[in-house]
Symmetry: D2
Subunit: 391 residues, 4 copies
């Protein structure tokens, strides 16, 4: 048996299909895409990649299909989908996701185009696996696709633990073994067995705390916003077509920024950690309803308005107003006296965690250090944000 | 410098006072009192003792006083109090606490009697420390006594991490370094610095999850209830006077049960893990208001009534109806724009966690396996508990 | 499936036989026998028990039999033997082993007497397992008995890792998964597959380092020697017959010492960590050949001679001269180009580790603090040990 | 106090000088140089960087200077040197080191050129630190320079633990706290205090085991040899001058290979993990004396001869014959009865570990898979290596 040593799950046993898939260029590329993109600018140890995460998700899927006693064909499909579930990620993962969606029209979970007439697709077919079924599973569709992408998926179980291990933050250490033991298939769908509300809550808590301390850290959000604007420019300027863009590595994207005049400054700033700073950083209650979750086009318009008012170049203002947080885990199914319920119906904690997530929400306006005051003044006027609530 | 190796904090550096205190019989006794009493019957690795926990609390207190830059005298007092804070615990810690309070009239945090004219008191005096001040500090009184016993105390910071490490449960892994860095002294009182709500919440979450999975596990509650009844009998029968009782070790108490006819059966049952079972196990909503948090005398009366109705010996029925949970951490002080506030005012999560704690609350009625049906029937009638809600 | 949470191996899955065996009083007793006996007097966190270690050994045996693809009957036998392998241990494990052997004539691995007409034996028979075969396996005899007791046994794999985890010492952290993957059955015997010399060496290194820092720590050796002398006295004075003695728990033995006048002082000294000190502590090269590995009767004679010469009571002198160390792991079988060899033939490190083990060897003579000088003078004369080499 | 969270040492406290140094481009570049270069091709989790390692070395240096009670000036210098000790590393660290030395004439520890008239040098001077003294310290010269680069340096203490943490291999987990506590300054030089031979040996053992399982893994050696040949080509072809080359990141080097025809194939092979394979892999005893530790020029000549004989392109043969291993740690100073000795004089283990290191030595000849047989035949003739000893 081939095994590979992982710092989180110790030895991971690879089936022959997994070995063949790992040998493809598409999978090897994931060694060069950091799992937490720019979080390493805050937590310097967070340099783990989507490659090792993919191995971890494969490992948990293997354990789950054994535990559930699934038939061989379905088990093969779920394992393979788990392994390749992240091949659709562009450089810097989630941080270029929106730019790719705008130009490519596809989410990173839609990977059918990466499996049609490709080395990866060929390996799947050679092994008797249908690329379209694998693509559907990665997207959470088809039989037990939710194991790979759903409210109780093994993706989440791996990344919470792995991100905690590598940042050094203790909050993500969920009991993934306990979650796996609790999985049941009920009418073809995954549910947690009776009496495991606390186990399910713990995963929800872990994500809430990791959001607050890691995933939504302002330094990483600023770097991410800068990456988005530079990526947009690269795509608008046709430096890459969207499909090629989506297959770059982190370093290749930075190099491309560097080589393209309008984005060169962004490259240097990210590489030298000389990021934009917060001109505005406002809690939910200080922000007018219509400025929450700004659409992209409106965001860019507002940025230009602020830049004009502040008398700076429009690339010197970034507005970052995320949607209000949602919590997919709260819709996880759980058995109560034999009936399938949603976790949120059974858990007194879900509402509190949702409130907690809203608490962490912030509107950010970012600018180079030398323009902070001007941009702050302009932005608070234009966005109608109460300026004494900027922390 | 003398150091001692700890499985949680690695090396702990001991000051000369700590060394002298550790050499007393009262401190050495804590090697024979398990930190989590009967939790080892559920989590077999949970055999850590109050001795190593005391070292851990001392270590965190040392770090805190350094961090806060306290003057030498106060620092000495806080360190010494942290080290001896648990000498007042009887055998099996919290599980004989109620029995000791009923007969001795003192809580385990009231240790003045253990420091007056004792070896431990002499060591303190030799080192220029006032035993009464140390006793007050252990009880949370006096300057910064809350560091040892309060809403942000180092006791809690140690036990959450230590209990997680030894049970293998991942939920208690709080970021104690972060908490220590966040401590401030404001007008002579401890508060967390601005912007650390999430850090404070994480400790609260940790305790809520540890309650649900470890501290309130039904097997440990049953064993604890059995220990309480047997202890009461020993004290009522004058086998020990309360002060001598309070200084037994775990094993000495079990041996005493074994040697005393009316409690011998309890000893065997605990030692061989042949415990009473749940005749009734009811959620909060199924239990009438007046049966929640039953006082001791009323509990014993009800037990006798149930036993009579079920036709069994009164020692064969144990009623266990804890008070509703409270959460001292939610009253922790935290700075918000320079003002001291309570965590519960600032945290959207506190209410959810309180609800979660209520969710975990259960009324239990326990009995030997052979009497379960009879006791269940009698108990549900006498306590007016809806019997279809027994899980 | 029933699982139990372990701080070392996370969840351990229990087969029905294991559950039934664990429910016996003989297995439950192991909760009250510390794995590292008096090592906790040096490493305060080392309070783990033979109970959790037994679970760990069972777990590794389960993994090994799966890995090796053994037939069901043999697998059942090996698992059961792994679980009960330590029931023969007396109180304080190895530290009363010599006393028990002198009086009972049996080593702790010879457990047939504990399986004949006992609750434990009955459970085995009910499950279709032959108690004599189980006893043979525990003793390392019969088909693959060496998996439970041999040069590559799962006992060692568990205790090295577990003892490291609980002491906090990092040296025992062997890669037990790697060792399990490397196991092969060749002509009915266990051997490591080709190319795994380094893996085998690492286990040997781990034990050598754990010996030096933990197992042979002088404080634990002194406490162990005191336990041996007190146990001998108890047995000579017929306070217990040897079979009853062998089934005591740690605490019961201390209590028995306390209740018996000639041993009461030992009990207090151990409990309050007020141990004898080193009057002599000599390296191998300073000790005459005939004083190395002194037999018991000769040891006691020499103690009396030293006591007479020093003018102290004979119980105030303890001579502790262990045999020269051996290293069973060095005889582990390993495949080299398809042939079975011994590790020592293939490893350049074995000789170095043997030398290292000799380096750690010490002759100790222990006495109460107030008699150290007198006993040192007498002992160095009588044992002809060069006194300037006492460290 | 500014702190940064590290996955190995938890919070690291930064002094203002450290903060300023970290803000330079030279230090930020280390975020993009993997600590273990191509080891991630074997251990996929090993993606930690020289940036976080630098923080770790700084942290251990801080602890050491506190422990030793050094005066402020020397402490500042040692801390600063510890932080910048790796700025001299080229892309892929040790794997391009030889190529850089051949062309630049400087070892990575000689960093004076990187501190003269550079941003980094300016920061040092602004803080009152002499860049030349810092450079000397990094090179192990000057007062206590050996703390940063010597037989007992904090570099080693960090990397062993960090590399173990990130590969998942348990062998590097040395007790660095114990080593720090044991450090003494004797006549201006570092030595370990009396009685700590075992502690020193443990570090030596850790490196020996990490060598065998991680640092000298054949896959990483092959990738490293390929990087060396491609780097040589890049430098010979003047694509970069040596100083610019030495300041590339890992990804920039791969991109440069890709852009340069003669090295493009190497880039693809490394990126897609489609490496050369072992045509020959011979133990020390099968290799003639004059082929051990081949000089570079001779190596290239031999490669051409083998290529000619095998009828393949000369870039299709890589000969890798390292020098015999040395063990600097064995010369660590240690106090014995007040005298300074070398560890090798006092440790019975050093010779065994040296033998063990020789045991791990291999001569490798690597080639593309399709040429393995031809290259093997040619190489064994030309190098006079006994071919039946190729494992």
């Amino acid at each position: 048996m081939t095994t590979v040593k992982d710092s989180v799950h110790d030895y991971i046993e690879l089936c022959p299909t997994a070995e063949a898939l790992l040998d493809t260029a598409a999978m090897q590329r994931l060694r060069y895409v950091r799992q937490l993109s720019t979080v390493q600018l805050v937590y310097p140890s967070a340099n783990h990649t989507r490659f090792e995460h993919s191995l971890g998700v494969y490992h948990l899927a293997s354990r789950a299909v054994d535990q559930l006693g699934l038939e061989a064909d379905l088990a093969d499909r779920l394992r393979a989908a788990a392994l390749v579930h992240d091949v659709g990620h562009g450089p810097f993962g989630h941080q270029t996701e929106a730019a790719i969606e705008r130009h490519l029209g596809r989410h990173h979970d839609e990977i059918e185009w990466l499996l049609a007439d490709t080395e990866l697709g060929d390996v799947l077919e050679d092994r008797g696996l249908d690329p379209r079924e694998i693509a559907a599973t990665v997207d959470g569709r088809g039989p037990l696709g939710e194991l790979v992408s759903g409210t109780l998926d093994v993706d989440r179980m791996d990344y919470l633990v792995r991100d905690a291990h590598h940042t050094g933050v203790p909050y993500g250490t969920i009991d993934h073994s306990r979650l796996l033991y609790a999985l049941r298939v009920v009418d073809g769908e995954l549910a947690l067995e009776d009496g495991t509300v606390a186990t399910a809550e713990s995963a929800l808590i872990a994500r809430t705390l990791m959001n607050a301390t890691v995933y939504r850290h302002h330094v990483s959000r600023i770097a991410g916003a800068m990456l988005d604007r530079a990526s947009e420019r690269l795509l608008v300027d046709d430096v890459f077509d969207p499909e090629a863009f989506a297959r770059l590595t982190d370093a290749e994207l930075l190099a491309a920024f560097e080589d393209h005049d309008p984005t060169a400054d962004f490259a240097t700033r990210i590489r030298e950690r000389d990021l934009y700073k917060r001109a505005l950083w406002a809690r939910r209650e200080a922000v007018p309803e219509d400025v929450v979750g700004l659409e992209y086009d409106r965001t860019r318009t507002v940025e230009r308005e602020i830049a004009d008012a502040a008398g700076v170049d429009s690339s010197a203002v970034i507005v970052d107003s995320p949607s209000e947080p949602t919590s997919p885990e709260s819709r996880a199914k759980i058995l109560v006296d034999g009936d399938v319920r949603r976790l949120e119906e059974r858990s007194a904690l879900v509402a509190g965690l949702d409130a907690c997530a809203r608490e962490v929400w912030r509107l950010g306006v970012y600018a180079p250090e030398e323009h902070l005051d001007d941009v702050r003044a302009a932005a608070s006027t234009i966005l109608a944000v109460e300026t004494d609530a900027t922390r």
